[in-house]
Subunit: 403 residues, 2 copies
């Protein structure tokens, strides 16, 4: 999956001020305290890489190498980043609903996309120790990739993070700490240690490369939709890296001449118990206040404060989409319906996108004739499922017809 | 993933006697009580399908349609059967060790390959109710695909089957029963109900099509190795469908002229606590006695008696490979090493193949210069992992440097 190909990265720039930063150096946030965006020489890529050449390649994430920041193939630490499939959700969704099943990626979640890129760049730039706050899946992806290339990792997670996530992270070689707080409380610990020079801070959007990995969701969608895009994208939004990344990807693809000016409506889906972006969207604000007492069954999107809030809001508004919140009962019902009707096990955050799709349909914001993509961001196997079985005694006389 | 393409199936035949059976009819075991094998008009496929045409297709399982039994595309019930990646296991394995990560398939295991095919054929042939004994993963795959196309399913599993498997099966719409016994005790219940006409029996190799789905592991390997094959294959062997299927696939590919006469050495890997095939192999027998008091941490290969025993033994011997057993401590150490050294989480059965690889190397049966493929048959996330974390109080004065 890691054929040698050039990168066309030119520099980085502050997402708020546009201030320019050098490529191939270690960066955190910009001087304005905002995420840095990676920029490419798109004109040269356009000349170098005909679309047909891209299409002839294997479909893994590294197919997009010219549009990614890693320069040396030797820095790539792959665990098999396949193109994730699109699965029709006909009965519980609708005739034109497709689930992009990100649970098929290494460590079972879309976090692998961001972390494989960030770890490769950390390796390239000589980082030897990384710390990160996580609700579970990002920490697992970090641990796997960092362990694979010999980088030490320390992970902090909220104390109610599911046991399976914590164990997975530890088994893959990271040191894990449960913290009596939420992800931003964990983030504060990581920031403090980073300020002391103890480790490099890998929090969402605090280093510039996770977004480049996540943007491959948008690149893949374009290729899978034959260089048109779906009309609606429902994206479970915590830190929002993926939504920001896809929006960036679409602009880059248009600059290459591979897609036109049309864009999907981007629906940023949050849980009713933690919906800072929705609140800011509805109030017409550019930035989102911290959400106090955040609580939802969809722990992956339990992010009270997102450093990229303005980028999420900007993309949602520019796309004609919406930020919308769904309640836990609707999320759980969506997970149950998708499994029982379509045989597809979603994670709660994926269930949230199905709940949001249904709500958007009900409110007339979208039409079921339109193509809609729901992001199932992780395998449903990592999450609690209801117990439902009976017992049979093999030594007893059983009336099998009554089972 | 389900482009319309013809199937070239001609008939079925008894794997023991060669007796011929009609295609496109419902079959269980042959009259001799043995598995039926599906046969194709390979000469016509050779004329119809140039290798370059195959190579130009998307890489999913349905790429191989001419070599598969499903005739009508409408009968396919896909959940996104991607080609699984090959992942180098350099540190815990060796310089030429690749893991084929079957945990990326729908429902997180290689059982999806067999069940997607068997369910499609059941649908094509009008089956409305299916029962199956399972150690967990096969039941999950059956439930998902059968639910997706409206077939009713009843699943029986040993009472110590992991809770996650049982819940997954139930959530995906099957009725699940825990039985005080092993998988063949469950199989006896299924057989009894089938004899009463209550359901169709989907036990391993008792219907002819799971093997056709499983053989795609061999087809994919050939394509991924550029139409040569790896020198050694380590396969976790319970019912052995996949090993039998791959061996059949290689013969079909040779008949198409796509590979030569060379074959990998096939290593059938069992657990020391349930090794009927190994015992028969070492005794020079063609059939294996039931293994009493079977017990191993690798529940997926805890199969005391395999109906395809003679087919497994025949393939292993013809290939110059071996049937070999590894103990639970070696299995658990292999899982830990792969995660801690290479960042790859294996299931216990996948761990067994790494333990077997190491043992074969130690005994001089293979060389580390040779290419070896280990089958990780399911995602490691479905299995118990050791607890390993510490707690940090965010309100306390923490010495971060000491973490």
């Amino acid at each position: 999956m890691t054929v040698d190909r050039p990168s066309f990265v030119t520099h980085l720039e502050c997402s708020l001020t546009g201030e320019r930063y050098e490529a191939d150096q270690l960066h955190g946030l910009s001087r304005a305290g905002r995420p840095l965006l990676v920029r490419y020489d798109l004109a040269s890529i356009r000349a170098f890489l005909p679309k047909a050449m891209l299409e002839a390649r294997e479909t893994d994430l590294w197919r997009w190498r010219e549009l990614l920041p890693v320069r040396r193939t030797a820095d790539i630490v792959s665990l098999g980043e396949i193109e994730t499939p699109l699965i029709p959700l006909t009965k519980s969704g609708g005739p034109n609903v497709l689930v992009k099943d990100e649970g098929r990626l290494p460590t079972g979640s879309f976090k692998a996309r961001g972390l494989v890129m960030a770890v490769a760049m950390a390796k390239a730039l000589g980082v030897t120790r990384i710390a990160m706050p996580t609700n579970g899946n990002a920490g697992a992806a970090l641990a796997a990739y960092a362990t694979r290339c010999g980088i030490e990792t320390i992970v902090f997670c909220p104390d109610d993070t599911p046991e399976i996530n914590v164990r997975e992270i530890a088994l893959q070689g990271a040191r894990v700490y449960r913290v009596n707080g939420l992800i931003d409380d964990c983030g504060a610990i990581v920031a403090k240690g980073a300020a002391q020079g103890l480790w490099f801070d890998f929090s969402t959007l605090k280093e510039p490369y996770r977004i480049e990995g996540k943007k491959t969701m948008g690149l893949e969608l374009a290729a899978q939709f034959n260089w048109r895009l779906p009309q609606n994208i429902f994206y479970p939004t915590g830190g929002g890296t993926g939504l920001i990344g896809m929006w960036k990807a679409f602009d880059e693809l248009e600059a290459l001449g591979w897609i036109g000016a049309e864009r999907p409506r981007m629906f940023a889906v949050q849980a009713a118990g933690c919906a800072p972006i929705v609140r800011a969207y509805e109030a017409g604000l550019d930035h989102a206040e911290r959400w106090e007492d955040a609580a939802t069954v969809a722990a992956g999107i339990r992010v009270p404060k997102a450093v990229g809030d303005f980028l999420i809001l900007r993309a949602v508004r520019a796309s004609g989409g919406k930020a919308m919140a769904v309640g836990d009962p609707a999320i759980l019902k969506a997970v149950d319906d998708a499994a029982k009707q379509d045989g597809l096990l979603l994670c709660p955050e994926g269930g949230a996108t199905l709940a949001a799709y249904r709500e958007a349909l009900r409110l007339g914001w979208i039409d079921e004739e339109e193509s809609s993509v729901l992001f199932n961001c992780a395998t449903g196997l990592k999450y609690p499922m209801p117990a439902a079985y009976k017992v049979v005694d093999r030594f007893a006389e059983i009336d099998l017809a009554a089972l």
